[in-house]
Symmetry: C2
Subunit: 352 residues, 2 copies
Amino acid sequence: MFKIAIDAMGGDNAPEAIVAGVELARDQMPDTEFLLFGQLDKVKPFVKNEERLTLVQADEVIAMADEPVKSIRRKKQSSLVLAAQAVKNGDADAVFSAGNTGALLAAGIFIVGRIKGIDRPALMTALPAFDGPHDAFVMMDMGANAENRPAHLYQYGVLGSFYAHEILGYDQPRVGLLNNGTEEDKGDQVHKEAHQLLRYGSDKNLLNFVGNVEARDVLQGPADVVIADGFSGNATLKSIEGTALSMLKLIKDTIMNGSLKTKMAGAMLKPALKGIQSRLDYSQHGGAVVIGVNAPVVKTHGSAGPDAVANTMKQIHTMLEADLVGKVQQFVADHKEDLSARPENEVDGSAE
Amino acid sequence: MFKIAIDAMGGDNAPEAIVAGVELARDQMPDTEFLLFGQLDKVKPFVKNEERLTLVQADEVIAMADEPVKSIRRKKQSSLVLAAQAVKNGDADAVFSAGNTGALLAAGIFIVGRIKGIDRPALMTALPAFDGPHDAFVMMDMGANAENRPAHLYQYGVLGSFYAHEILGYDQPRVGLLNNGTEEDKGDQVHKEAHQLLRYGSDKNLLNFVGNVEARDVLQGPADVVIADGFSGNATLKSIEGTALSMLKLIKDTIMNGSLKTKMAGAMLKPALKGIQSRLDYSQHGGAVVIGVNAPVVKTHGSAGPDAVANTMKQIHTMLEADLVGKVQQFVADHKEDLSARPENEVDGSAE
């Protein structure tokens, strides 16, 4: 029996949408129990059927605006902290939240804990690939870290490959390094050295590195796992989101302010435009994963409704069923030496 | 009389489109002379009328794939190097190219020369703003530098403000720092300290700093001048381009593969979609500017036709007429002390 610890209070529609989503998932996943942490006077009224649900009182709530690290240190009785604590204590196998991303990340790192040998857990998300062999790719770090060292990026290559292989079912996932050019000597010192480490790992068959990829191309699917430092990964993800939203708005405004003919055409195209919007909606490919910690820790978007919550439960279930974290732990332990390698020709005097 | 030095050999359609664009511009700008550098056996056949055109033989050509710095050092007789040299010698006031961006940048920095007091010239481009008081904003550095220090970003605030004020005509341009959150303590060390320096410059009335802006929002126009380090600026620009192109392709494919009704609607919407495409085409707002050097050095896109070339000539003309470079030089000299300030509370021990 798998056990998922749920922060029932996180998200714009919590606890109602969370409870409804969990109940949907519960009905589809007979081998799973759910521990719901929250203010029970608010949670209970939404619970229809307590089968395989355990409700646990959490006096406090971490708000979206709370400072992540401080809030998990101070709000020890919050639904998020108690959910993470349940994993630490062995009472649950995974954590779910639709609330404060930074706080979930901090709970993952400081409560659930880093995998031994992984220096800096990352935030990973799936994005649509409009071309190439698969319809989605994963990218990390999306902003867990403001700064990364080359060794972190190398480790992300391994973590992302495991996810793409075990969870998405990709054979020999293609790992690309987000850089400002495709040539191997591109980028700043961090990216030059990360490139060498990924190349080394590829030569040792730890992963399948296909070289640098540019932000301009990522949506076309040149890699199944795109590795970025947290700062530019965040900028890239947000630019993609912002541009897609701006364009959809521009299209809608153009249609609404157009001639009668334009409006009619717009109405006829509505289903097609909806389809495009849905292909761009990367939350369809699952929640954001805190990767590199000792259990699945997954975040769905704040505005998630019951279906999105239930889909994220399925994603967590797949991660548990595949024993993703256990496999990564084993792999990292088995390849300690190769994973702590430094570039053979260090790019210049500065070691990282 | 203004004199613009033209690299007639750079760009996919060179020299034909370059010559045609220059002739268009010449006919509209009676106070300007054009020095065309190129292989004259290839250039001359396209010249219709030599009025205010001076043709200068350049034996070599810098190709798109040439390594920038090496190529300007080795190809001393190239059209680009000779055009930049003409500015250095006082024979011309500005340089134009549609060729190798990196080589133009290198020619700007190493031949035309940095403005005294500006440490790292940047590549600046205008992008559309879909909301806010103006229809475009400028952003830099778009990738001239793989790494930037806080002081560079501070200087970009000043350079960008001058451009937005003098060339775009914006009153008190709003300067924003691209960062991974809007709070002032966001980002890595470089961005934290850059934030403080920009705040300091704003307190001293050197510029009008409005704080951090996120990549997700830039196209909505939260700032008139968006400052970024070269690495994440490049990632942001390319993500915006890539997403816009992917979406337009997705829309076209959806229409072409749709039902008869969808195809008809698509045909009716064609003008509206063309309008959207044109609003997204940031080359309409001018070429990319190498900013921080001792003369206007401007790049138009490689596939530019005669109209785009002529528009870039107008942009250069505006820069010359406003004496943008002279004003920046004067301002930097007058505010040496404030511009070499360090953050009052340095964020931690590491001085940059």
